[in-house]
Structures are given as structure tokens and as C-alpha cells.
């Protein structure tokens, strides 16, 4: 077989037969002018044959002055697949809300075709731009070109990970605070913590402008900042009537699905008992022209979510039920300082903050960072004896 003919990949080809776009098709296209992409397919085909991954675990590579941003990858049969013998990943800090000019994207793609495999993943689970497949000797040059174009690497390893946020006020009327500004300010403030890993393990901060939580902060971020309003849902009765006239079954599709069970539709009038509203966004999402978040806006701060890696998955717990919009950033920075200090002192190697809180208990954690327990921290405050007394109180 001539050198430039791609090797057959019958098992991978199966993945192209379904109705959806296939990464196999994409990588085959990339393989037309890039030998690393061809070997990447070959190596994956081999993994399917052998029923075994051929990537080795972990490698330590990087660029000068940074301890994170590059993830080392080697395969365990480099003689057979020399073009992916080194196939390192660069994480590049994405812009807040993932807004680019097409020029910026072209610049990135050009840099990456010069130095790497040309394959990208926009965006990785952390939010970063992922550049897949660099040789060790290309890392420094890639980094130089990226910084010259105004980009920087993101976080990896036991570092503050690149903060991310929903598009917020740039596109979305529900945003209760400026998530993009918050995200950018936080990124600038914690450059050291992102580039030079100081922690027991990774730490992710994500911000959503409202409880729809488009960046899924509540399920994946160590610290989630989720926009919320304190006063009443704003209601336009004429618009409610229009929805009803247009055939929306308000009793069934709105009121019956309200988790606060606090909405009533008489057939002519909608009432919301806002004291029992859980700020879930359901009614607002169904009737966006009639209902809007209130005007007293801010955010809830939550702690401790993570995906199942070392231990199982965790959802966040409420740390601060409401911070007014103007105080969000200062409050988060103060909290981060205290949380990191506690984690530094008591965290074990590779223990996420949520796991540490599970181990020592929420009461001890709150005490350690100097916060009073509050009913909003508990999912069902009336039937969950979450925090009762400290030992000293019972003497």
C-alpha cells in the first residue's frame, strides 16, 4: 500500500453510519493533510481491536513559568504510531461567554496548524479552547504565538481551573448579574492560582446569570455563582391572558409543575405566592412574555459539586443564599480566600472541597470559614436536622 494511503479503519467506520455527525469523519478529513491525525485514527482503531486504551496515563510537560495549561499524553506503542508518540493537549483560556470574532478563530486555527495536529475541541468541559496533539518541542513555540495573538493558557492539574460563565447580559434577558464581567475579573485576579497549581486538587468556579444555570455550575463547579432575585416575579396580566387565549394550559403546564406549589390559575387570573417560590425558572421559561425575574437582583453562592472521578458525584450546597449584585465579586473573593485556607489546612492530596466538607461535616466547615449556618443551606430545613448545636452549646 502506498505511503500516503490511509490505513483501513473498519471498526471506526461503523461510527460514521449513524444519523449524527461523526468525529471519525472529521478526523479523516484532517488526516488528508496531517499525519498525526492519520495515526490518531489508527491508534483508536487498534484500541477497538485490542479492547484496550493505548494512551498512557499522565505526563508532565509544560511551558516556562507555568505549571499548568498543558496535559502530557504519550501512547504505549509509539513505534507503530510515531506521529502520535507525543500528543499533548493545550488548554487555552476562552473569552467570557465564548464570544469570538471570526478573525480570532482563524488566528487560533492558523497557529494550531503550524504547530500541532490542527485538531481542536471547542470547548472542553472546563470551558477552555482545547488544542489536541502537540509534540513536546512545539509547546514553547505554540505558547509564544498564542500570547502574541492575545491568548493565554488555562488551568489544569491541582490549580484554579479557567473560570467560565453563561452568556449572561450579552444575550439573555434573565441574567441577574453581569456574568461575563464577573468571569473576566475573576480570571484576571487569580492568574497565579491558575498557572501555578497551589491546591490539593482542582478548583472550578462557574457563574450562571439565573437558575436555568446554562453552564451547569451547580453540578460541576466547586464554587457556583448563580443569579437570583429576592423580590417577586414580575407579572404582566395582559400577557398571561394572551398565553391562555393562545391555548397554553396554564393550570396543567405551569401551576401543576411549580415545585413551590405556589401558583394558582383561576381560569382568568394567575396568582403567585412568592414566599414559597423556589426560583426554579419553570414558569418564566414557559411564559417569557408574561413573567420575568424580580428587580432586586443578585446571586446565590454554592459550594462543593463535582463529577465522579475519584469518588462519586456531588451536587452543590448553598453557602450564601443571596448577595446583592454590587457585592458579588467582593464576597466571592473573600469567600475564596477563606475556603482555600481551610482546604489548604485540612484537605488531603486529591480531595475536592466537596469531599472535604463531607468528611468533616458542613457544620465544621462553616465554622472553619466563619459563616453562620442558615436554613437556606438545607434542602428541607423543616425535616432535616442538619446543624443543631455545636458541642460547646450543649455543655
Amino acid at each position: 500500500m502506498p505511503e500516503d494511503q490511509p490505513k483501513p479503519t473498519p471498526l471506526l467506520d461503523e461510527l460514521e453510519t449513524g444519523p449524527w455527525p461523526s468525529f471519525v469523519t472529521e478526523i479523516k478529513r484532517a488526516a488528508e493533510n496531517n499525519p498525526a491525525s492519520a495515526d490518531l485514527l489508527g491508534l483508536l482503531e487498534r484500541s477497538y481491536q485490542d479492547r484496550k486504551g493505548h494512551w498512557k496515563h499522565g505526563g508532565i510537560v509544560g511551558v516556562r513559568g507555568y505549571g499548568s495549561g498543558v496535559i502530557g499524553r504519550y501512547n504505549d506503542i509509539p513505534d507503530e504510531f510515531p506521529n502520535v508518540a507525543q500528543f499533548h493537549t493545550l488548554r487555552v483560556n476562552h473569552p467570557s461567554g465564548w464570544f469570538y470574532t471570526s478573525d480570532a478563530l482563524r488566528t487560533l486555527a492558523d497557529i494550531w496548524e503550524r504547530h500541532g495536529s490542527g485538531l481542536t475541541n471547542l470547548h472542553g468541559a472546563t470551558g477552555d479552547i482545547i488544542l489536541l496533539g502537540a509534540r513536546t518541542d512545539q509547546l514553547e513555540a505554540t505558547f509564544q504565538d498564542l500570547t502574541a495573538a492575545g491568548f493565554d493558557l488555562g488551568g489544569s492539574g491541582s490549580a484554579m481551573r479557567t473560570p467560565s460563565c453563561c452568556v449572561g447580559q450579552a444575550r439573555c434577558e434573565w441574567a441577574c448579574f453581569d456574568t461575563m464581567k464577573f468571569c473576566n475579573n475573576l480570571t484576571q485576579a487569580y492568574q497565579d492560582e491558575m498557572h501555578r497549581p497551589p491546591f490539593p486538587y482542582k478548583f472550578k468556579v462557574k457563574a450562571s446569570g439565573c437558575p436555568n444555570d446554562c453552564v451547569a455550575a451547580i453540578a460541576r463547579a466547586d464554587l457556583s455563582i448563580i443569579g437570583i432575585w429576592k423580590d417577586d416575579i414580575r407579572q404582566d396580566d395582559a400577557a398571561v391572558a394572551e398565553y391562555a387565549a393562545a391555548g397554553l394550559d396554564i393550570a396543567r403546564d405551569v401551576c401543576a409543575r411549580c415545585p413551590g406549589q405556589c401558583m394558582e390559575w383561576t381560569g382568568a387570573h394567575l396568582t403567585i405566592d412568592n414566599r414559597d417560590c423556589k426560583r426554579c425558572m419553570h414558569c418564566i421559561n414557559v411564559m417569557p412574555k408574561a413573567l420575568r425575574p424580580g428587580v432586586e437582583r443578585g446571586a446565590a453562592i454554592l459550594i462543593g459539586a463535582k463529577a465522579p472521578i475519584v469518588q462519586g458525584a456531588l451536587l452543590s450546597s448553598v453557602l450564601v443564599p443571596f448577595v446583592p449584585e454590587a457585592e458579588i465579586e467582593a464576597t466571592v473573593r473573600e469567600l475564596l480566600a477563606r475556603i482555600w485556607e481551610f482546604w489548604d489546612e485540612y484537605g488531603k492530596n486529591r480531595e475536592r472541597i466537596g469531599e472535604l466538607i463531607q468528611r468533616v461535616g458542613m457544620a465544621a466547615f462553616l465554622d472553619g470559614i466563619g459563616l453562620e449556618p442558615r436554613p437556606e443551606m438545607v434542602a428541607f430545613p423543616r425535616d432535616n436536622p442538619f446543624v443543631f448545636f455545636q458541642k460547646e452549646d450543649t455543655k
Binding site: 509544560g62 513559568g65 505549571g67
Partner: protein
Amino acid sequence: MPKYEHDGRIYEVDEDGFLQEPDLWNETVARDFAASEDVPEMTDAHWVVVNYLRNYYLQFGIAPMVRKVVKETGFKLTQIYELFPSGPAKGACKVAGLPKPTGCV
């Protein structure tokens, strides 16, 4: 097995350039590997970090967590990056002849 050569001395290393046999380590080895990590000269400050890592490794068999390195050597993390531009894990541990720290991603 990849090799690393400095001043005519040849070492077996892993693909990231870490010394394969930590027992072979001595101060000459440290100086040789410093050259591979952008450390032109091993000053007293470099030795404080390297000796701390080395002793911790001999006692516990692993590399210490970063916050311990900072606490025990008295250097701020940014100072450690000034001494070892490739950082405490890739740079300082390599010079101290520790096996590659694992699983930090």
C-alpha cells in the same frame, strides 16, 4: 528507553526526562538535570528546595504536596517558579531525582 546526556554522562530517563533510577542521584546528577530545566546555575536557594524534596522523598517515598514545599522551604510559589521555571513538579522534582509525580490532571 530514552536517554539524557550532559557533559558526557548518560542517564536513562522516562519520556518526560525524569531519572529512571532515583538511587543513582547525587549532586552532580542534580546539576546535569538542572541544565535540562532552564536552571543555568544551582544556587543555595535551589539547593534548599532540592534537598527538601530529596529528603522528603527518601523518608516517605513520594513527592510532597506543593503547599508543604512552600511552607517548609519558606519560598513563595512564585519564587519557586523563578528558581525552577518549569515549576516544582516538572522542574524541581526532576532535578532532585524523584520519579515523575503522577496523576495530577
